[in-house]
């Protein structure tokens, strides 16, 4: 049906739309968390609803980020070998960082309240 580029575009736009309310929520949350102790912070992040929103936020931003950087690499790097290497690196970077963030949220929720 849709080719790779179309899919790429659609996914980038879809994650962008999801992120509009999520980023607003995230910014407000961060401002409210200024000066929060570790106990206060983990209590916030460990709440089921917060953790769920964080998980969706993380999955969305890291995927969106990877797609965006893919486009940048494809625009500026013309040598096929360097291009495919960078695209691979980009994927690895986004996956590792995204899953580290995701894992952290899971650990915080499992730790319970302190």
């Amino acid at each position: 049906m849709a080719n790779k580029s179309t899919k790429h575009f659609n996914h980038q736009r879809f994650t962008a739309m999801i992120q509009i309310p999520l980023v607003v929520w995230f910014i407000i949350s961060v401002v409210r968390l200024i000066g929060a102790s570790w106990t206060e912070f983990t209590a916030w992040a460990g709440e089921p609803l917060t953790a769920l929103l964080l998980v969706i936020f993380i999955l969305s931003i890291f995927y969106h980020m990877r797609l965006g950087m893919d486009e940048v690499i494809e625009d500026y790097i013309h040598k096929p070998a360097a291009r495919s290497r960078l695209l691979m690196l980009n994927k690895v970077f986004a996956v590792i960082l995204g899953f580290t963030a995701l894992f952290s949220v899971i650990v915080i929720t499992l730790n319970g309240t302190h």
Binding site: R13, I34, A45, T100, A101
Partner: protein, 146 residues
């Protein structure tokens, strides 16, 4: 015999694929006259790249809270230092710009507000909004810090 003939054929065969390395490049940034819409597009990419780098801080922040109280205090202390706040100021503006300008693209993609003069105005609104929202964010943040 057959192999030799095949090799001969391959040698004389014209290549139809263009040699992209020797082709002239299409005009790029140094050629075009700057326009405000073009600048907004370049800024969108630049802020996207900045946020890509900033995502390391986001992950570090969550990771530190998952690891230990001491690590969390170290990371938040670093973020609250003068240098950390400067980085966060840039990070927050990049986020605001990318957010508001991203919404602009979604509106443009739907075919609205695309007339030349309107489009220019929209770009200025986006730039202004990004600074206003960032200023508001920091006013509240610093107010909370006391």
């Amino acid at each position: 015999m057959k192999v030799a003939m095949a090799e001969e054929f391959l040698k004389t065969r014209p290549t139809y694929a263009p040699d992209t390395d020797k082709m002239p490049l299409s005009p790029h940034l140094q050629i075009w006259k700057w326009t405000v819409t073009m600048a907004s597009s370049i800024l969108h990419r630049a802020t996207g790249i900045a946020l890509y780098a900033g995502s390391v801080l986001f992950t570090l922040w969550l990771l530190s809270a998952a690891v230990s109280q001491a690590f969390y205090n170290q990371v938040t202390g670093l973020l609250g230092s003068p240098l950390g706040l400067l980085v966060l100021a840039g990070f927050s503006w990049a986020m605001m710009y990318h957010l508001v300008n991203g919404i602009k693209y979604i509106i443009w993609d739907s075919g609205r507000l695309l007339e030349k003069e309107t489009a220019k105005k929209v770009v200025w609104v986006v730039i202004l909004l990004s600074f206003v929202l960032t200023g508001l964010l920091w006013a509240v943040a610093l107010g909370m810090k006391g």
